[in-house]
């Protein structure tokens, strides 16, 4: 989760930036400024290697079995797929959103074996054998969970894009701590950004849900 205690200004140091594994996604590094820095003659060498690799090495695939929202799935995945891609593209569970694809924003938060994780930064193969819960799994028999209902009643979503992630982090919190303080809520959900900055309403919704008896 987002570590707010780290002195943020260190990320502005250009040296630290490149050492910080979170500073660039692997894909951006490969395709964007990573290659960009050596654009020109060097790129063609990289490119040719890439082309040969494609011919010689078809994409590695694995079979994973996982439970999603209580339903077991056995799926052949490319080893490079993230859990978010598996959920969204293969299982059509598009409630999980991709906001940054690099562990910055929390829109893709799901529960993996009960713990909130960024599904953009979990490989699908790592989910083999796991129990995953997504936003689609919160309502039971058509009945919203108390936290979902509290989001409805307290205007938890504005644009709604961060909402699934906020709900999953909030659910994990209430599962482990049914009566959190406001400070505990903020600390538990610090990894879920909301650019509409609807933070006040989101915290109020979690408080309301806890007063209604939590997630159950």
């Amino acid at each position: 989760m987002r570590d707010k205690e780290k002195p943020s200004d260190c990320y502005r140091d250009p040296v630290v930036k490149y050492l910080d594994p979170r500073a660039q996604s692997r894909r951006d590094f490969l395709q964007g400024s990573g290659t960009a820095v050596v654009a020109g003659a060097a790129v063609s060498a990289v490119g040719l290697r890439g082309a040969r690799a494609q011919e010689a090495n078809p994409v590695a695939r694995s079979t994973v079995t996982l439970s999603v929202n209580g339903t077991s799935h056995t799926v052949e995945v490319e080893d490079r797929w993230t859990l978010a891609e598996l959920l969204r593209d293969q299982l059509n569970l598009t409630g999980t959103k991709i906001g940054c694809n690099r562990s910055e924003c929390g829109a893709c938060t799901v529960l993996m074996n009960g713990q909130p994780v960024y599904s953009c930064s979990q490989l699908a193969v790592w989910a083999d054998g796991a129990e995953v819960q997504t936003v689609e799994g919160l309502a039971q028999n058509g009945r919203l969970s108390p936290l979902q209902q509290a989001f409805v009643d307290n205007n938890g979503p504005q644009c709604g894009f961060c909402t699934p992630g906020q709900l999953m982090s909030g659910t994990a919190l209430l599962n482990s701590n049914p009566n959190p303080t406001v400070d505990e809520i903020k600390a538990a959900m610090v990894g879920n950004l909301c650019r509409c900055s609807n933070y006040n309403a989101i915290v109020e919704a979690v408080v309301a849900a806890s007063e209604q008896g939590g997630v159950a």
Partner: protein, 722 residues
């Protein structure tokens, strides 16, 4: 803590009552479908290759290896896809239209050569999956000839600066004349002559990326000559017209669908290059194409609030009367004039002698464009910081100084309603201003210092027209067709509430159809805080039309329906229509490490009658928090040596998190201004305008140091205290 305080009006039957969003269940269950959630049969994935250089000429581009990669279906570059992106660069930064398309001197294409900023688009590919598309990008060979670059507006205007366009680096106005934007009132020189003292100061502000949670994306699909775009748009009608114009189509050949979108704050107005790139790729590949931007691409390839330098001269008399205000300023536009580069705030003062000179300047930074209240928060920071400083220099309370100098109704200027004084006085009382303010700034003993700041706002209600259609069937179900999209404020719900109130039926009896140009009439778009007052007014008038038809014909029976519609041109009888507000904030600054903590934040707003208090409250709270982020954290820094952006992304821009935000107290002073739907005025953008000035003034009050540069980061506070 949670409910907004309201003063002035009683709720009507529906309007004015806290109402849950009509689509709230979809939003909390994952059923709300955003653009990237669509999947069409045979859909390909698109990706864009971007320039690694701040300024370079493409000497050669070789896409053969990419085209040979199995799974790649189309590769387009500036050589084979010369599509004008009209809204990407407009003379004067005005609304893109047929006239400005012809007049625009510095035209932008979906791919440009030379490339003019790190992140400028170079090529795009469509492939059977996104990983193949990414791999294909790495196979495109581009030979660049690097050109000299310039990052800072003032340097860009200096002799010998690298020229980004042949006519130089001052961006042309809407007529194509290369001149600064100048506005004058009265005679500033005589105003300065009347002054007892003249205060001068330079302020500067950073680049603020809109940073909406949903990265830019677009899904394009052709059926014959008809294009369907699924795209996150803040204005589907304008997006359709712009896209048709850019692609040489008629409006009816383009359908724009925006069912849900993950925020925009001004960077999803009109059409975007993603729409044109997706449409072009799709046409070449003969299949639907989902174009996805990464977060980094969104940060660098879309736009954010323009950085500014503002030089003020203000003349005052000993009694605190302002006699002259002059601002000479520069706005960094990036290499394309996507929007105005405006800097506002002077208009809030009654001073008869003002002069404002703004130079919108091309630089090799990423493009600047509209962000929530495009011209305001940075301008208010500059002028209201300076006025706050002058008040303290004159031993005056800034609130008293403001009440003396702020713009008020005059014989020549009548307002639809005016409550700025009431906002300020109510806020000062609720906040306990006189107790929290340090009469002598920086007077707290010890390194941890507290202080209070204040700012005030008047903001024009947007212009434009919209249409609405309302239909009733024999079962007395009403269907409202409005061309709005809900970018977050709750427009669908608001439109439904206005219709239900006007029809005198429960909200549950009204179905709202939105976000699809083939189903909905024209709407001006979710920009300029105008959906409620413009489209909402059209809803009221459409219902009146329907009621007349029901009176004439009786309620429909059998399979009949009755339809009412309206395209009103709202008019305020020559009166000025503005919303008003005042913010008061207390901060605690740890001068040893430069941190700022918000202890208390009180807002008072007058936006006419409030349609839905819940969502209006959260417009103010959210906008205020965004403004605090602008005050304290956000910027896009560049390495001056190589023109590389250093702080794209949420981590490095340091957006506020749950842990950073205070409770924002909201009070609405409600009035029926007699013109908006049920007396509503404008709200959505207004909250962000006040926060940077209020926070900066509070820091100055706590530390005794005037902070003249946004964001007020720790290093700047430490520097000021040293």
């Amino acid at each position: 803590m949670s409910q907004a305080t309201r003063r002035g009006l009683d709720p009507l039957s529906i309007v004015g009552n806290d109402t849950a969003r009509i689509d709230a269940v979809e939003r909390v269950t994952g059923q709300a479908r955003y653009t990237r959630d669509w999947k069409l049969p045979g859909m390909l994935y698109g990706k864009v290759l971007r320039s690694p250089h701040p300024h370079a000429r493409i000497v050669r581009i070789d896409t053969s290896a990419a085209e040979a990669l199995p799974g790649v279906q189309a590769v387009i570059t500036y050589e084979n896809a010369r599509v004008v992106w009209g809204a990407g660069s407009v003379n004067g930064g005005r609304q893109y239209n047929d006239a400005t398309k012809e007049a625009t001197l510095h035209r932008r294409y979906i791919f440009n050569n030379p490339v003019r900023f790190v992140g400028d688009s170079v090529a795009a590919v469509a492939a059977t999956d996104r990983h193949i598309a990414e791999q294909a990008l790495s196979l495109i060979r581009v030979d660049y000839e690097e050109l000299p670059f310039v990052l800072e507006p003032e340097e860009a205007l200096a002799d010998g600066a690298p020229q980004i366009w042949p006519e130089g680096n001052l961006a042309p106005d809407f007529r194509g004349n290369i001149e600064p934007m100048v506005s004058r009132r009265g005679d500033v020189e005589s105003g300065f002559a009347d002054a007892d003292q003249v205060f001068e100061q330079r302020y500067d502000t950073g680049f603020i990326h809109n940073a909406q949670m949903e990265p830019r994306c677009s899904l394009a699909s052709w059926e014959g000559d008809k294009l369907t775009l699924y795209t996150p748009s803040q204005g589907i009608s304008n997006c359709r017209h712009d896209t048709a114009r850019d692609l040489g189509l008629e409006d009816h050949q383009v359908r724009v669908i925006t069912q849900y979108m993950g925020g925009g704050f001004g960077n999803k107005n009109q059409n975007q290059d993603a729409d044109l790139v997706a449409a072009t790729l799709s046409r070449r590949a003969g299949a639907p194409v989902m174009l996805e931007f990464s977060r980094r691409e969104d940060w660098l390839g879309v736009h954010g609030r323009w950085p500014t330098v503002q030089n003020y001269r203000v003349g005052v008399k000993e009694d605190g009367t302002v006699t002259a205000v002059e601002m000479r300023a520069y706005s960094g536009m990036g290499p394309y004039r996507k929007n105005s580069g405006g800097i506002s705030g002077l208009e809030c003062y009654a001073c008869p002698n003002t002069m404002r000179v703004i130079s919108p300047v091309y630089t090799n930074r990423t493009t600047s464009g509209n962000f929530r209240a495009p011209s305001n928060p940075h301008g208010y920071f500059g002028i209201q910081s300076h006025m706050d400083e002058i008040a303290y220099q004159l031993d005056m309370d800034p609130v008293e100084f403001t009440l003396k100098n702020m713009r008020r109704p005059t014989e020549d200027e009548e307002f639809t309603s005016y409550s700025l004084d009431q906002c300020i006085e109510t806020g000062a009382e609720q906040f306990n201003w006189s107790a929290r303010r340090r009469v002598t700034p920086g007077s707290d003993e010890g390194p941890i210092k507290r202080g209070a700041g204040f700012s005030f706002m008047m903001f024009r209600a947007g212009l434009g027209t919209s249409s609405a259609i309302v239909r009733v069937d024999a079962s007395q179900r009403y269907t409202l067709y409005v061309g709005v999209t809900d970018i977050g404020p709750g427009a669908k719900t608001t439109m439904g509430m206005i219709a239900a109130e006007a029809l005198a039926v429960p909200l549950s009896q009204v179905e709202v159809v939105w976000g699809d140009t083939d189903r909905c009439p024209y709407s001006v778009g979710e920009s300029g805080s105008r959906t409620t007052i413009m489209t909402g007014y059209a809803v009221v008038q459409a219902v009146a039309d329907l009621k007349q038809k029901i009176a004439d014909n009786g309620m429909p029976t059998g399979t009949d329906v009755l339809v009412g519609s309206a395209t009103p041109a709202p008019d305020t009888d020559g009166k000025t229509r503005q919303c008003f507000g005042a913010h008061f904030v207390e901060v605690e600054v740890d001068t040893r490490i430069g941190t700022t903590r918000i202890l208390k934040y009180t807002t008072v707003h007058e936006s006419g009658r409030i349609i839905n208090p819940t969502t209006a409250r959260d417009q103010i709270r959210g906008a205020t928090i965004q403004g605090i982020g602008q005050a304290l954290h956000e910027n896009l820094l560049y390495d001056q040596r190589n023109g590389q952006p250093l702080t794209p992304g949420y981590y490095r821009a340091r957006h506020l998190t749950h842990l950073d935000v205070p409770d924002i107290e909201v009070t609405f002073i409600e009035v029926d201004d007699g013109y908006g739907p049920f007396g509503a005025k404008t709200a959505g953008e207004s909250g962000i305008i006040l926060a940077p000035a209020a926070v900066a003034n509070a820091i100055a009050n706590a530390t005794g140091r005037r902070m003249t540069s946004l964001p007020i980061t720790r290093d700047k506070i430490l520097g000021a205290m040293a």
